[in-house]
Amino acid sequence: MTSPVLRRAGRTRRPLAPGPYLLIAPAVLGMLYLLLYPFGRALLISFQDFGLRELIRGDAEFVGLRNYRTLLSDPVFWDVVRRTFLFMAVNVAAIMVLSTLVALMTERLGRIGRAVVLSSLVLVWAVPVVAATTVFQWLFHSEFGIVNETLTDLGLRSFEGYAWFADGRAAFTILVVLVVWQSVPFAALTLYSALTTVPGELYESARLDGAGGLRIFRSVTFPLVRPIFMLVLSLEVIWTFKAFVQIWVMTRGGPGDATTILPVYAVQTALAHQRYDLGSAASMITLLLMSGVLALSFRRLFRQEGEHP
């Protein structure tokens, strides 16, 4: 950043030089046309009667809040909302607990062990979503999948040829496992790098004061890594919706609608059933539900960046 003196000088000399505005113009145009405009369009459509006919002829009528009323009075929609929150809660809880444990464990390992664990985490982080989803379909394949073979060999005969993707709960569980497997590396690596900033003397003195491991974590470690922990937590909440890809590739929201969460529901309604109006309204409700967490993590991210530019 420029020094305060320079800043003042710059402001008095050329308050509205075109240079900076020319430099940011492409970025601003991009954000307006590719982000704000689609958002505005979705908002507009959610208040219109917009089906296949309107998509082709383009004379959509305004119907006020009708789409929202339709959705909110539909028990199926409420099932989807509940399922979304369940999916989010299970995922985020598992991700946070596991990644905290992995981070704490990594910190206690020796140099070689630490390098091995960190490299494995990075490797998982790097596996493309679609590739990982395909691999998990193969792992849980009913006939030749290694998971069923192993479970059967362990004496659980009921898993012989068990069709995971035919059962709603089983498919839901596999998706959770997949999302957790893919999300733990980022969370663990971030938490681990936060842990390394905690000064060792703090642990020493806590131990001298007679504190046990759990107590040290609660009173020393956690308060210090709390900001990063909360940032990761809120990012993971938002990223739950990115599970759209895994769900779409693996189950398309099925069997039945056992794995349909909000973004899947919105896309299905709009692009498969040509109800663009209802789909857009569902997206808007999703955004509204997310907005709290979104604002919170946005503030944290902003502050984080402001401190270390």
Partner: protein, 284 residues
């Protein structure tokens, strides 16, 4: 934390659970990746066996051959590369200008702009598929690769601006000022002095942009519908099973081929930018 203690046998015993946990973590991380590669190299009869060996008894390249010779593989590969490169280069050029303006120049509206970039970084793209589809349809941009390029450009732009801003701010402005005193223009000073110092930042952001665009599935799936020749690799892979049915060997070979560039790039850039990615709050 490493603390030195005398009672070595007791310590080793106490550390057993720690090592067990480490081994478990590494196994859980690596096994799915290993299984992908191992399956890709196994002969089909070993894949479709009720007693699969953990290590392939025989190695074969048949599945890779099937995957590479699959309809349109070269074309989809080319599409992915084109879209990815286009998006990354566009984002880099646009972001460099914006990042320079934010980090070095003073102007009215700077703060709101930074705020907008941060908001854009949190944009819930999964919820914008429907309007983007409708807009693309209205403007005759469906089934075309430039549409995808634009979308990926916008997905990667905010992050690129944020990271480059950090890198530019880290270069002392005095260096450029000195060059300007010596007779360089402002642009010349930036190009000669700051730009070379920016290389790691440009590298990191472009590699990250590469990963994002290379992996993107949702928009590639819904914006490319009729024109099958415009598909990209993730969509091709997701429909691989419909094409190849139960040929899991070929499917895993295709997954490996698709994942490989991302893995290489990621492992290469990991040391330099893990902290940067973390700070930017970016999903890999």
């Amino acid at each position: 934390m490493t603390t030195t203690r005398r009672a070595a046998p007791g310590r080793a015993l106490r550390r057993t659970p720690l090592y067990a946990a480490a081994v478990l973590t590494v196994t859980l991380c690596l096994f799915p990746v290993y299984w992908m590669v191992a399956t890709a190299f196994k002969p089909s009869r070993d894949i479709q066996s009720y007693e699969p060996g953990l290590i392939p008894a025989e190695w074969t390249l048949d599945h890779f051959r099937t995957a590479v010779q699959a309809d349109g593989f070269a074309l989809f590969w080319r599409n992915s590369v084109l879209v990815t490169l286009g998006a990354v280069l566009l984002a880099l050029v646009v972001a460099l200008g914006a990042a320079y303006a934010v980090a070095r120049l003073r102007w009215r509206g700077r703060r709101p702009f930074v705020l907008a970039v941060f908001i854009a970084q949190m944009a819930p793209w999964e919820s914008l598929v429907i309007p983007v589809y409708i807009i693309s349809r209205d403007t005759n941009m469906l089934d075309r690769l430039p549409t995808l390029t634009l979308v990926y450009f916008m997905i990667t732009l905010p992050f690129t601006v944020v990271v480059l801003r950090g890198f530019i701010a880290g270069i002392p402005p005095e260096l450029e000022e000195a060059a300007q005193v010596d007779g360089c223009t402002r642009v010349g000073a930036f190009r000669r002095i700051a730009f070379p110092l920016l290389a790691p930042g440009l590298m990191a952001t472009s590699l990250f942009g590469f990963i994002t665009a290379w992996n993107e599935f949702t928009y590639a799936n819904f914006l490319i519908i009729k024109q099958q020749d415009s598909r990209t690799l993730p969509v091709w892979l997701s429909s691989f099973q419909t094409t190849f049915g139960t040929d899991w060997g070929a499917t895993m070979a295709a997954s490996t081929l698709f994942a490989l560039p991302a893995l290489i790039v990621f492992l290469a850039l990991q040391r330099h930018v893990t902290s940067g990615l973390t700070a930017g709050g970016v999903k890999g």
